[in-house]
């Protein structure tokens, strides 16, 4: 298992770069993780998605919710979600929120 230093803290990550222990994540890490995914600045809308994912993940064994769970849970539209996290929101949201890849298909 590899480790990586984010915002001054060392965390465990898997081969694909997803954090493996959701408890190691802190809010201070999100901007740096987002930059790594090509998102320069986190807006309140980004945070709404991240906060929802963190909250849902506690019931999902540390895995990120699926995109449909995010849109229905936050009220953010599919279009908006793809604009906030362009080119692959499923993986990007999970990485920035310090969670594992979503396990559902929808």
């Amino acid at each position: 298992m590899a480790t990586r230093t984010i915002a001054g803290k060392t965390v465990q990550v898997n081969d694909e770069g997803f954090m493996t222990n959701a408890a190691e994540w802190t809010r201070e890490m999100a901007p740096e993780l987002a930059q790594g995914e090509g998102i320069a600045e986190l807006t309140p809308a980004h945070w709404k998605v991240i906060d929802f994912c963190r909250e849902s993940a506690s019931n999902l064994d540390g895995k990120s919710p699926t995109l449909r769970q995010i849109t229905t849970g936050t009220g953010i539209s599919t279009k908006e979600l793809f604009a906030l996290f362009p080119k692959g929101p499923a993986k990007k949201v999970a990485k920035i929120s310090g969670l594992g890849k979503p396990e559902g298909c929808v």
Binding site: L67, R68, F82, G88
Partner: protein
């Protein structure tokens, strides 16, 4: 991973309820992973983008060897729905509602809603010119999100470098 965006193109040629979902599920997964998605609808697959048909896709139990009685929650093992029973009026509607229920149980939305999600996520939809001519359809007959009616040759041009999946 290379800098070039991976591309996937689906060809949807079937119009039954069960055959509408593979491209929707895989296309949605592709979009979620940052893959460029194009879907080309042809022959019976036109039903998936036809406003008049999209919410009425069906599945027939006749000659469907995978549709077992056990799907209805009865412990009948490998016993299928007999073809002779399948021809009775209402059996297709019954099988369809059963399948819709199963799909909803796993959290997948109905076809029209799912297709709209793909369009909102950036999937590009095209209708086959030959099928449009054959079935007497017009662009107005299609759901929102269908970009254009294109020929097979156009499709080849627009999917250069893409992985193509025929359904």
């Amino acid at each position: 991973m290379t800098d070039e965006t991976r591309k996937i193109a689906f060809i949807c040629s079937k119009g039954t309820l069960d055959m509408a979902y593979p491209a929707l599920v895989m296309g949605w997964a592709a979009l979620g992973n940052g893959i460029d998605v194009t879907i080309f609808f042809t022959f019976w697959g036109m039903d998936i983008i036809n406003k008049a048909r999209i919410d009425h896709l069906e599945i027939a139990p006749v000659a469907n060897t995978s549709m077992k009685m056990s799907m209805m929650g009865v412990d009948t093992g490998n016993l299928g729905i007999p073809n002779l029973v399948g021809v009775l009026p209402g059996m297709t509607a019954f099988a369809t509602s059963l399948m819709r229920k199963k799909i909803a149980e796993v959290g997948a939305p109905p076809v029209s809603e799912y297709l709209q999600m793909l369009v909102d996520g950036g999937a590009k939809l095209y209708a086959c010119k030959m099928s449009v001519d054959m079935m007497g359809l017009k662009k107005e007959d299609f759901v929102e999100g269908v970009i254009d009616i294109v020929t097979a040759s156009d499709f080849m041009d627009m999917t250069e470098g893409a992985q193509i999946i025929f359904i």
